[in-house]
């Protein structure tokens, strides 16, 4: 299934992960997003770009902020938006997912925004949906969350100019994080100078180096002289799975405090995909401090999602 995401001219058809995308794709997405940032600051925040298009949020897994930003992005492009939350039972079966899909397809929609607990679910839907329907992956299992990664790249680009000179540290549960995987792929595509991952071995794959990252198990060493620190959200379930002893010990070792932050470059930016567990991943002083760009990430998220939706749904010559 190579080149599932792009058409013969290289234009985006779906946005599922970064596998068959190029440096230029990422730059185009960010450049397009740039043009939408201004719109979101106007008093009338709408453009008629996707008028008459129907976008369906198909969220099999609960989400508030991702869903909201996708919905807002679609509405600001004047698309009609439907939100579906199909019930998924413990014994979910392929038939029900495909049936749900075809039922909604029959309503003549143009795009699915998909979130699902299974890795590969967005690929599966892209492979089985009508050829005229596009799919954006809004998070599938531990696999990918490409729009989140793009909004992170966009945020970094706003603060730092040249990716090739940057040192970026990703801290926390890399093993289970679709966000981290997508960030690493995007940072690599943008030829980032150095990508570090910082976590105990229980939250890293043995093979993580094959993704082109440096591995640190010590936060102080890992964030030394970095330009960007991305903190990942720690799921409470990780304590039950014997991956970590306690939130306290995690915070002691991997929690970002104002003191530790001094080890990074003076102009370091601190990011987090949200929602933050204050006192677990980081101190409130850091989260709300001058280095934090966490709320900017959220507003850039809308611009990035507008960019991806419009690039997929409108022919390139009209952009």
């Amino acid at each position: 299934m190579t080149m599932l995401q792009t058409d013969s001219q290289g234009h985006l058809r779906h946005f599922l992960n970064f596998d068959d995308l190029s440096y230029q794709h990422l730059i185009s997405i960010m450049d397009t997003a740039e043009s939408f940032v201004g719109i979101t600051k106007r008093s009338i925040k709408k453009v008629p770009l996707l008028r008459g298009h129907t976008i369906v949020n198909l969220f099999f897994e609960p989400s508030t902020r991702t869903l909201t930003t996708f919905e807002l992005a679609a509405k600001r492009l004047s698309a009609d938006v439907l939100n579906f939350h199909p019930k998924t039972s413990a014994t979910k079966k392929g038939e029900s997912l495909l049936d749900t899909l075809h039922t909604i397809e029959a309503m003549q929609c143009d795009m699915f925004i998909v979130r699902h607990a299974d890795s590969g679910a967005a690929h599966f839907i892209a492979q089985h949906t009508h050829p005229d329907v596009s799919v954006i992956n809004a998070g599938d299992g531990s696999h990918a969350h490409p729009t989140q990664a793009m909004l992170d790249m966009f945020t970094i680009r706003h603060h730092k100019t040249d990716f090739t000179k940057l040192s970026v540290a990703i801290v926390g549960d890399v093993l289970h994080s679709r966000v981290a995987r997508s960030q690493i792929h995007a940072l690599n595509l943008l030829q980032t100078g150095e990508i570090r991952v910082i976590a105990p071995k229980t939250l890293l794959s043995n093979h993580i180096k094959t993704l082109g990252v440096e591995v640190y198990h010590n936060l102080e060493q890992g964030i030394k002289d970095v330009d960007v620190i991305i903190m990942l959200r720690l799921q409470k379930e990780r304590m039950q799975g014997a991956l970590l002893p306690s939130e306290n010990e995690y915070f002691q070792l991997y929690g970002l405090t104002a003191n530790k932050l001094k080890l990074a470059k003076p102009d370091v930016i601190v990011m987090h995909p949200g929602p933050i567990n204050r006192g677990v991943e980081m101190d409130s002083i850091v989260a709300d401090g001058p280095h934090s760009v966490i709320l900017q990430q959220v507003s850039y998220g809308i611009a990035i999602r507008m960019a991806v939706m419009s690039m997929i749904l409108t022919p390139p010559q009209s952009q």
Partner: protein, 432 residues
């Protein structure tokens, strides 16, 4: 089709009888459902039927140590007899049914039912090692054996309680029962759906580490040594497992092993991008593992290749990878893929025949898998030169869950004989 009492001469055939290391052009004579002899020209034999096997390969009927005739899905999905016919059409005359097919083979009644479910195919049920395969209480192993079970096993369900496992092996050993072990550590394989490695990392799929298999093998070897049980490891997937089994064999432990045909051709790379037809248990591992498995069949550490045929409906595979059911419908590519191992010089043709018939029969200690006089005339006749492409239309299995669709293959079964009777004949052959 012939009748069972016919006297048959299979003429001018390339015959391989691995039991006697015979490999040459000759005639094979059958009477009263049994093999009479291999002889260039038996004068006092008047055949009722002559099968001209010029240019064809004649070998013992295949003995498959692991073949699911039923889908593991709860509801029966496929016609049982048609799946039996698919086995015959692919040269299989003896097969072992794992205990985890539904209903579980854990009572003598079910064992008898399975054992006698088809008269033109030797179906050997494998009884459960623990009650309801739950790994808590011993099953009635001796009663299961009396009802036709050739071996006992806990199927794909790992027994996590080592004390229960030890007791089960001790009890099996007491009654000289063969135990089939699918070695997986219950905890390490939990939630996993593919090999833990670079590909699982990239796809964000929960991996099953190599250690899930090697830890279980280390534990099982220790218990096998202690209990003295006859044990057979099913479907090895890691090169390290092959090394461990080999070492145990060198130390004199009477353990045997098999590998599934799919693991000799596919690796975890084939899972990308989320190809559910490559979702299989044990998982497809790395190229290095595949190489180790190939060395294992070449050097004799692994004595048998099984099909691990698992028919599944389209619905079972039409799901995101972790929610799809594992298994490959492998019958229709079984012999062609085995022949490829000969073409790529992994093993010799006679080794291949032995791995598919004689050696698995030896593991089961049954009088099959050979062309020796007085053995049931179970025979597979193959045209090794036919080139064809696997498509849904030319599959005999009712299930199309195979990643080999569209593969160019070489070699097809022309005839299958079971107890002297032609039970399958390639439809393109005109009947004399």
């Amino acid at each position: 089709m012939s009748t069972a009492t016919e006297k048959i001469c299979i003429q001018n055939a390339h015959i391989i009888n691995p039991a006697e290391n015979f490999d040459g052009i000759s005639n094979l004579y059958l009477a009263k459902q049994k093999i009479v002899t291999i002889h260039p020209n038996l004068t006092d034999f008047t055949p009722d039927r002559i099968i001209d096997a010029t240019g064809l390969l004649v070998i013992p009927g295949l003995v498959d140590l692991n073949l699911h005739l039923k889908s593991p899905e709860i509801e029966p999905k496929f016609n049982f007899n048609r799946e039996c016919e698919a086995a015959q059409a692919n040269g299989i005359t003896t097969l072992c049914c794992p205990p985890h097919q539904r209903p579980y083979i854990d009572t003598p009644a079910v064992a008898k039912m399975v054992h006698h479910s088809n008269k033109q195919l030797q179906i050997l049920p494998i009884g459960s090692l623990s009650k309801e395969l739950a790994g808590e209480h011993l099953s009635e192993m001796v009663s299961l054996q009396q009802a036709g079970c050739i071996a006992v096993s806990n199927g794909v369900y790992a027994i996590s309680d080592t004390l229960v496992l030890r007791r089960a092996l001790e009890y099996a050993s007491t009654h000289d029962l063969l135990v089939f072990i699918y070695a997986q550590d219950h905890w390490l394989q939990r939630h996993g759906c593919m090999h833990e490695g670079k590909v699982s990392l990239r796809l964000g799929l929960t991996g099953i580490p190599e250690a899930a298999e090697t830890i279980a093998i280390a534990r099982d070897l220790a218990l096998i040594e202690q209990t003295g049980v006859r044990a057979h490891f099913c479907r090895l997937s890691c090169h390290k497992s092959v090394e461990m089994v080999s070492k145990a064999q060198q130390q004199g432990l009477p353990v045997t092993a098999d590998v599934s045909i799919s693991h000799l051709y596919l690796t975890d790379m084939d899972v990308a991008d989320f190809n559910t037809n490559c979702h299989v248990i044990p998982p497809l591992r790395t190229e290095q593992d595949q190489l180790g498995l190939k060395q294992g069949i070449a050097n004799g550490t692994i004595q048998a290749i099984c099909s691990d045929h698992t028919p599944l409906t389209q619905d079972a595979k039409l799901a995101p990878f972790p929610s799809s059911l594992p298994g490959i419908s492998s019958l229709d590519s079984f012999i062609p893929l085995a022949l490829r191992l000969v073409n790529d010089n992994t093993i010799s043709l006679s080794q291949m025949v032995s791995l598919l018939s004689w050696q698995p029969a030896q593991i089961l200690q049954i009088n099959a898998g050979s062309l020796n006089p007085d053995v049931w005339a179970n025979i597979c006749i193959i045209d090794t030169n036919t080139e064809w492409t696997l498509t849904q239309d030319n599959m005999y299995s009712q299930a199309y869950n195979t990643p080999f669709l569209g593969w160019p293959l070489q070699g097809r079964v022309k005839y299958t004989l079971y107890r002297g009777e032609v039970v399958y004949q390639d439809s393109s052959i005109s009947i004399n």
